[in-house]
Symmetry: C2
Subunit: 212 residues, 2 copies
DNA sequence: CTAACGTTTGTCCATTCGGTCAAAAATTTG
DNA sequence: CAAATTTTTGACCGAATGGACAAACGTTAG
């Protein structure tokens, strides 16, 4: 009898865990880790607290699961940045995909922002490992484009940071963006406006200069 | 006897309140409002909890005082954006000042970011009032520059958002920036690199196009 | 010196929160 | 169906937390 053998996951377990994670995403992204309570998550998931704790032993387990999943989705657009395509087209697509993620997955963006703001206590290793590796790799790709004269020479790391910052801003600082734009301009059209602006900013800002 | 008359503030009160606010800034910016405890703040301020509560009746009072003060400092650079100067120079200075604030006042930046992330429950009126008014005004200034052909035509609101996002990123996402850049490139030089990059991005990205 | 006022602290309290447990209810399996 | 297993819940617990309070201590003006 091997008590350490991982028991197979039941249908109900699979389903309920999903419900819990969805509810937890809602609560964590709005309140942060410490601000969120198990009771809130349980209520949002439509079950009692002990019942929720039957599926996830600890509050932190829910959070960790959520963040680990998130990171994959989150880095997907950058992974797609491709060496072979046309640089300007690749960058435009990357910016657009990131902006779409801010629009379609704002809760995920805020969950991530919350974690980083608090000093990334739960995902530091991932940042220094997987994330850094990926960024290093893509920075090399971008540097290649610069050397080939396809885009202006500049710091590829800070370019990536700028794309992250500007796109995620529309998810993380959403209430501020809405407040400033007002009810009229802050409506559904704000993402198209943002897309147009960012495209112009980055593509013009990176237009290669002729060698003098 | 007018009990509602505001009693004059003692020397000790003035000093201690300052100590508390400094300690609270440290704790709130690192833990968020709910994550921070009065005990933590009291310890950081070097006094007992009841003593602290003698100067600020409630935890929220400390937070509110902090945020109200912050907002003035925070908007100062934008207020300085001047109609009369050369547009490109004005924008360059604005970006530089904002980046310096991210470097010199990262705790203030994080405090603000935390508040906005949680939906700005305590400062919504300020965002819709004072902040919106200021941004509207400056957006008009920028639009004037565009009409005069001094900078490229684009959306002034999203331009301001982009400057906020990129500069504050270096304070709010500092641990991520450091993790990605690594110990060598993530050192003190990262702000100069960022300044160079952002200057190029925005100034090239906004270079006026000749009318065709 | 002393009365009045300002400051500090130990103690206490109610609530909230993360988490446990045993027992009931539901489901699956043979 | 009945046994075995999984799921659900009410009741409970200890620790943490925001805050109250009165008593002690310190300071200062008359």
């Amino acid at each position: 009898m091997d008590k350490t053998a991982p028991r197979r996951r039941t249908r109900i377990q699979t389903e309920k865990r999903e419900v819990i994670l969805e509810a937890a995403l809602e609560v964590f992204s709005a309140q942060g880790f410490r601000g969120a309570t198990i009771d809130q998550i349980a209520e949002a998931a439509g079950m009692s607290k002990p019942n929720l704790l039957y599926y996830f032993k600890r509050k932190e387990d829910i959070h960790r699961t959520l963040i680990e999943r998130l990171l994959e989705t989150w880095l997907a657009p950058l992974r797609e940045l491709d060496d072979v395509g046309d640089p300007m087209t690749e960058l435009r697509s990357y910016i657009r995909r990131k902006l779409e993620m801010a629009r379609d997955f704002p809760r995920e963006s805020r969950l991530f922002a919350n974690e980083i703001l608090q000093g990334a206590p739960r995902i530091m290793p991932l940042l220094e490992g997987e994330l850094k590796t990926l960024v290093d790799e893509k920075a090399q790709v971008i540097r290649g484009w610069m050397r080939a004269g396809k885009i202006a020479r500049t710091d590829p790391y800070h370019l990536i940071f700028a794309i992250w910052a500007t796109t995620q801003h529309y998810a993380d600082f959403d209430v501020q963006v809405r407040a400033v734009l007002g009810p009229d301009r802050g409506g559904d059209g704000r993402f198209e406006d943002a897309a147009r602006f960012l495209e112009q900013l980055f593509l013009e800002g990176l237009r290669p200069k002729p060698v003098s």
